[in-house]
């Protein structure tokens, strides 16, 4: 097969004997969803290369296409003697817990949510912090005083992005309006685009999306405006990965920045700890700004000006010092905003 993932050519190195057999089970997106599944897979591949391992021998993945396949896939990898298996996405929480309790000798890690069990490590990210920082960037970039947020499905996880973002915007300038909408889908690009269009039409100039494939629609709308008028002040803020490429249109780019969630970093970190004999079973690992688990992309140098960058840096420090407590829910956000006034 011409499977692009495999690098089955001759290797000029010897597999490291300390390595463990590690795998991931993705949710619906698959390992090239340009989002956290892909990021997780990149982390695993990096591990494979570092330790000079063969794909499917020592590391591999199973893609789920439906909710009901998570358990099957986790069990499948377990039965193939994987020693450490990552469940990518909060949707796998139940499946990871179940399978982990059935297989106490195998180690599991759940990304994006907290699972119970001594043989399960939970990996979470402080998305609200990253979202806060891109909110700061949005507020600084906005000329109209209106910015937008497009969520996928209205759910606690996405609300975390929303709350952080709004808090960031309001921290810079409480008078800036934030138009928050949900596509109620992570795949319907048509809806994403329509929402974006209606936002840009109503003078919103920066949109942060946390909507997966529906977010593609936000990019297509922004790019269309930009293609018609290269001076137009429309921006998209990407999510999960650096979505700079997605924003490229002719000679310019509409991606202001992205809230990057380094699942790859986390995956490699958990594997390393396990190899070292420190598997964080039963623990919750929270990756955030300090450890590079969450970061803000600065690829679009032209748009993401030094001024913005330095302001973002200021706020980042405030968060890290604990001067600012970023809200994670809508209730916390309310309190946060009323404190600002």
């Amino acid at each position: 097969g011409t499977n692009g993932d495999s690098s089955e050519g001759q290797k000029d190195c010897e597999p490291d004997s300390s390595a463990i057999k590690a795998g991931i089970v993705t949710d619906e997106g698959g390992v090239d969803d340009k989002s956290f599944n892909q990021s997780a897979w990149e982390g695993l591949k990096a591990y494979g290369e570092e330790y000079c391992l063969d794909k499917d021998e020592m590391y591999g993945y199973a893609q789920s296409n439906q909710d009901s396949e998570y358990e099957s896939n986790l069990t499948r990898l377990t039965q193939q003697d994987y020693e450490l298996i990552f469940g990518i996405g909060f949707k796998l929480k139940d499946a990871v817990q179940t399978v982990a309790s059935q297989n106490p000798d195998t180690k599991y890690a759940l990304v994006d949510d907290v699972a119970e069990g001594d043989n399960v490590a939970s990996v979470t990210f402080k998305e609200h912090q990253g979202s806060f920082l891109v909110g700061v960037a949005a507020a600084l970039k906005s000329e109209t005083g209106k910015v937008g947020f497009v969520g996928g499905i209205d759910s606690p996880l996405i609300n975390k992005f929303e709350a952080g973002y709004v808090a960031g915007v309001k921290s810079v300038d409480p008078s800036i309006e934030v138009d928050v909408r949900y596509a109620e889908s992570f795949s319907d690009a048509g809806k994403g685009r329509q929402i974006a269009k209606s936002m840009y039409d109503s003078n919103v100039d920066v949109i942060y999306h946390a909507a997966g494939g529906a977010g593609n629609g936000v990019f297509t709308e922004a790019k269309d405006i930009k293609a018609g008028d290269s001076e137009a002040n429309v921006w998209v803020i990407g999510v999960d990965r650096d979505q700079y490429e997605e924003g490229s249109v002719d000679d310019s780019n509409v991606t202001l920045t992205s809230m990057v969630k380094r699942v790859d970093v986390a995956v490699q970190d958990v594997i390393k700890r396990t190899i070292e004999g420190n598997f964080p079973g039963g623990e919750v690992l929270e990756y955030g700004l300090a450890d590079g688990g969450i970061s803000v992309a600065d690829t679009n140098e032209e748009a993401y000006t030094d001024e913005i960058a330095s302001k973002v840096k200021e706020w980042k420090e405030k968060i890290q010092n604990g001067d600012v407590e970023v809200p994670q829910t809508r209730e916390e956000l309310e309190g946060f905003v009323s404190n600002l006034e």
């Binding site: 011409t2 499977n3 692009g4 993932d5 619906e28 997106g29 698959g30 390992v31 090239d32 969803d33 340009k34 893609q63 296409n65 209205d154 138009d179 909408r181 949900y182 109620e184 889908s185 992570f186 795949s187 319907d188 690009a189 048509g190 809806k191 994403g192 685009r193 329509q194 929402i195 269009k197 209606s198 936002m199 039409d201 109503s202 494939g213 593609n216 629609g217 990019f219 297509t220 790019k223 269309d224 293609a227 018609g228 490429e245 997605e246 490229s248 249109v249 002719d250």
Partner: protein
């Protein structure tokens, strides 16, 4: 007042944009169903169109640039869509397959082939974002008409207007030309058509392939205006909505146009509703289901009974009756 015009300014272009792929696909459906072949595979035809258009777009953009690429992509997608639909024709016309089953198979097959080939070509489950997507423009002259100009002709797509014009062309073809007369006779009473020497099976092949052509174009336009790439979820239900538009529009090209526009309008109303102060306080779920509920009300209240082509769904077996 100006607020109202602003809202129209926002809703209409967005409704048109959303309706366009539906119009194309529904017109294809009209061809197929007018000839007597149920086409539940419109979804699959759109998937095939989206897949081909994205691949062509990715491959040709560096060579053709941003003006030509989208059009070439749509054209190729339409042609491949037509060829792909011929499978449905072979099954249902030549081999008298149950038309619903064959349509379902088309849906499975399109997604399977699309994703399988994406994996073979790019080594991953979905493509990169395209650079040569469709771009909106202001239509010269027409954009200057007061009030209407900005609403309908500013920041619009040529494909939108192509779709509207095509609906009328299809109407002309189906209701005015010998081809159309024959097509309809084949869908209504194939034995009558056969007895005057019309090759029923050939007409049905042509009609089904036309549905693939239009459905492919519809899928392509969807991918090039909205998604910008191809993946598992790029086309998720638009084909079924287009099928509904065919029936809603009573198997008439202008009816299908109207149904698709209605649907686009209802959908964009529901999306934009979230931004209109008056509607802001309505729980979002009501806005989300509004397009579908409105469609049902429209059907019950305005459209009512629709008469399908008489022999829709029945294979033509010469000599039997």
């Amino acid at each position: 007042m100006s607020g109202f015009v602003d809202i129209l300014n926002s809703i209409i272009p967005s409704a048109l944009m959303l309706a366009t792929p539906l119009i194309f696909t529904a017109l294809g459906g009209v061809f197929s169903e007018r000839s007597g072949i149920i086409n539940i595979g419109l979804e699959g035809l759109m998937i095939m169109g989206a897949f081909v258009a994205v691949v062509i777009n990715l491959e040709l953009y560096p060579i053709l640039g941003s003006t030509l690429t989208p059009w070439v992509s749509i054209l190729v997608a339409a042609v491949i869509g037509g060829l792909f639909a011929s499978l449905h024709a072979v099954a249902t016309v030549t081999f008298r397959a149950d038309q619903v089953v064959s349509g379902v198979a088309i849906n499975f097959l399109a997604l399977g082939i699309g994703l399988f080939l994406i994996k073979q070509i790019y080594g991953k489950g979905q493509t990169d974002m395209i650079d040569g997507g469709l771009r909106s423009t202001d239509i010269p002259i027409l954009e200057h008409i007061p009030v209407i100009g900005p609403i309908f002709f500013e920041g619009t797509y040529y494909t939108n207007w192509l779709a509207v014009i095509l609906a009328f062309v299809v109407w002309y073809v189906i209701f005015k030309t010998p081809f159309g007369l024959r097509l309809r006779s084949v869908g209504e009473h194939p034995f009558a058509a056969d007895s005057v020497g019309i090759n029923v099976n050939r007409m049905r092949y042509i009609a089904v392939m036309l549905s693939g052509f239009f459905g492919g174009a519809g899928g392509a336009i969807f991918a090039l205006t909205f998604a910008g790439n191809f993946s598992q979820g790029t086309i998720s239900g638009q084909g079924f909505i287009a099928l509904a538009a065919v029936v809603f529009g009573k198997w008439h090209p202008i009816g299908a146009l109207g149904a698709a526009l209605f649907f686009g309008l209802a959908q964009s109303l529901s999306v934009i509703g979230g931004g209109i102060p008056l509607l802001e306080d309505i729980p979002s779920v009501y806005l989300q289901i509004a397009p579908y509920v409105l469609t049902i009300f429209a059907l019950v209240g305005l459209v009512g009974r629709a008469e399908a082509p008489k022999s829709l769904g029945t294979p033509f077996v010469k000599g039997s009756r």
